[in-house]
Amino acid sequence: MILEYKFEYISNNNTLINFFANIAKKEDINVKLTKSNNEINFYVEGDEDQLLSFSDKLSIDLPVSMFLKNTSVDVAQEIPTNSTELDIKKEYNLSFCPTCMNEVDNKNSNNYYNPFTTCEMCTDTSNIKELIITQNGNTEHTKKYEEVFEKLANDINDGLKVKIKTLSGVFVFEKIDNLKEQNEQKDVNLLCLNLINISNVLVAKKSEVVALASIEKPELELRINEVYKYKNIIKTDIVNVRYLNDLILFLLSKHLIAHGIDFLSYSKDGSFDISADFEGFDESEKIDIPKIKVLDNDRVVVLDSNNYENKLTTLYEKFDEESQKQSIVLLGENDLFKKKILNFFNSSKYDDNIVLYSNDLGGFLDILKYTVPNSMQELFDEISDDETGGKLLINFKKHFPECYKNALKFDTSVLTKNSLLSLWKIVSAVLDFEDDVISLASACMLEKGPRIDYKLLEQEEIYNKTFNLVKFIKSGISFKLAGVENSTISLGYIESYTHFVANIIDEVNEEVVLDGVSLSGDIFSHDIISTLLHKSITKNYKIFYNKDFPIQITK
């Protein structure tokens, strides 16, 4: 009998295959696989008892991955001829797997409470022999881990700060109640110890909780919930959150949870009362903490990570422009070099670009660039160039004299030149928004905003197009004059942008039939933009993102 396990796995890494191979090895069962883009299919052959036992093992030992989307299992008639043997390739250092977690948690195991256990399943080996605890100038080397973790938990519960060396680096941990004393809070980092109680402090979607618990143990930005905010302990709205990613923290968390502590706050440095250290750790064994965003459609977007194939770095370095660097990596990750792809790169940091990739064109063709005016006066002069624009500006000055005056002072020279975000900053300055366009639009409760003009200057060719900034600003001014609220206008700017993208795709597709569209750059990690974009781009076009590589490199 042959069982076919199908996995939709949005990553090129070998993690899933490695675990599958290790479980198969342990069960002494024959497994083959086929792999194509986002699909990995495993074919397992054996008698009914063997297959049942294997399935049970799989359900216990196979960790959840943030890249895993769907799974299914079917009976197959035969193993495909193009299938291959499972090959174990150690790539990245991962956090603990279900097997080692159960091992240290099992009183009958030799590794009970050993945070430095060696695991066959996740192939983690450890040369670390003991913990080194330092307090009040006294240093103790110990293997009495259970006692140590209980003491550290008691100390944290008493309000002390504990510096702990973990497999991801050294951090100072403390109770989040301690934050109450800090008036200035920047970049609050929380370690969640107990995901069951995450909603006591944070607002998290189910898909975000699943991602936190995944084998990759990423860091996410999450919002503090309104009830907890009322306690005034954490003063920022958004915090960085991650879950336990090594066995030291896991074992410590058992004692902290017993004290009713579900979260710790942590920082990379700062004063501390006690330290827990160890020796014999090779830096190459360090576990990376990827930073991710889970979009509303449950798509995981990597914001920062070192866990990607080396060949992507080579691809990235082939180009000078950030937009092209990012696009070529995306094409490489998705195996699209033989396809025709329209690539959108929208960034808060670098120049944007919309480029068509096609082998027939010999690479990239620039479709559109944005241009930031040299000054606000230059922009207003351009608006006044025609009669309606002139009248509009006179009205604007009359009804919003302060806006106009302040807008003139806005310095456009500091803006990234070819950037939609820069244009949105200009909008915010002209219309005197209390916040940036994306934040205002995100906070808007409406389903739909007014139509803003995203138009191009008349031109026959589909490439090197020029954006019509005057119309773009004029339509915002018009809606402001009509009494539309700032947040609603902002929503219009975002929504209309997504329609604009959809139109560009249609227009390019009329000339060059596209195989898909790619989105990279951090602007696409905003929920409001991603959601509206997926609504606007018709289902005729496949949308590609980076997989393991960050959506934008942060230097």
């Binding site: 006179i394 739909k448 139509r451 003009d453 018009s478 809606f479 004059l481 539309v484």
Partner: protein, 187 residues
């Protein structure tokens, strides 16, 4: 049969936006039922040629827009076949940026134009101030436009019933820029 009611116009230029406002008004006020046909309503705004892929998907289209006509006055309503437009109608007279006539001509040249009827109304003027207020003439004209579209739909075997009988075009004009169409494109 798939029927489209398409509103055209720039809502930032008062009466010039009546086509867009009107379809929101109809959408809010009425429900449409038919076992055989579908009725879709689209606020086409100033999208013009970008509406081509949408229009060609339908079998029967009502375009609601501003027109200009000889010997006419603000608020006059015209209803005609696109292919047999009266000579006195000048569709290029409207000041908004919509090249709707050109758009329909392009579709016709490709042989893709569905049966197309136009409900055209003469706008009062284009004021300098940006507001969503409509002129009294246009507000009065809405009765005729509404009567026309309801009768035409009924002729096509669509059961038209009132969902919100008290809604007015003046109320709708204030919110149409942020209103989601209930009978959005069904195909």
């Amino acid at each position: 049969m798939n029927i489209l009611i398409l509103g055209i116009g720039n809502i930032l230029f008062q009466d010039e936006g009546i086509g867009a406002h009107f379809v929101h008004y109809i959408d809010e006020k009425y429900e449409f039922e038919s076992n055989e046909h579908s009725v879709s309503i689209v606020d086409g705004g100033t999208l013009a040629q970008r509406l081509i892929p949408l229009i060609v998907n339908f079998d029967y289209v009502f375009v609601v827009d501003c027109v200009d006509a000889l010997n006419s006055k603000a608020g006059d309503v015209y209803f005609f076949d696109f292919e047999n437009a009266p000579d006195e109608i000048n569709w290029q007279g409207s000041a908004h940026e919509v090249e709707m006539l050109q758009t329909l001509n392009m579709i016709e040249m490709n042989g893709d134009l569905p049966t197309t009827k136009v409900i055209g109304v003469i706008p009062k003027r284009i004021a300098d101030d940006t507001t969503f207020e409509l002129s009294d003439e246009i507000i009065t004209a809405v009765d005729t436009m509404e009567h026309t579209i309801v009768k035409e739909l009924e002729k096509l075997d669509i059961k038209v019933s009132k969902r919100k009988p008290d809604i007015t075009i003046t109320e709708i004009a204030q919110i149409s820029y942020k209103r989601e169409i209930l009978n959005d494109s069904r195909i």
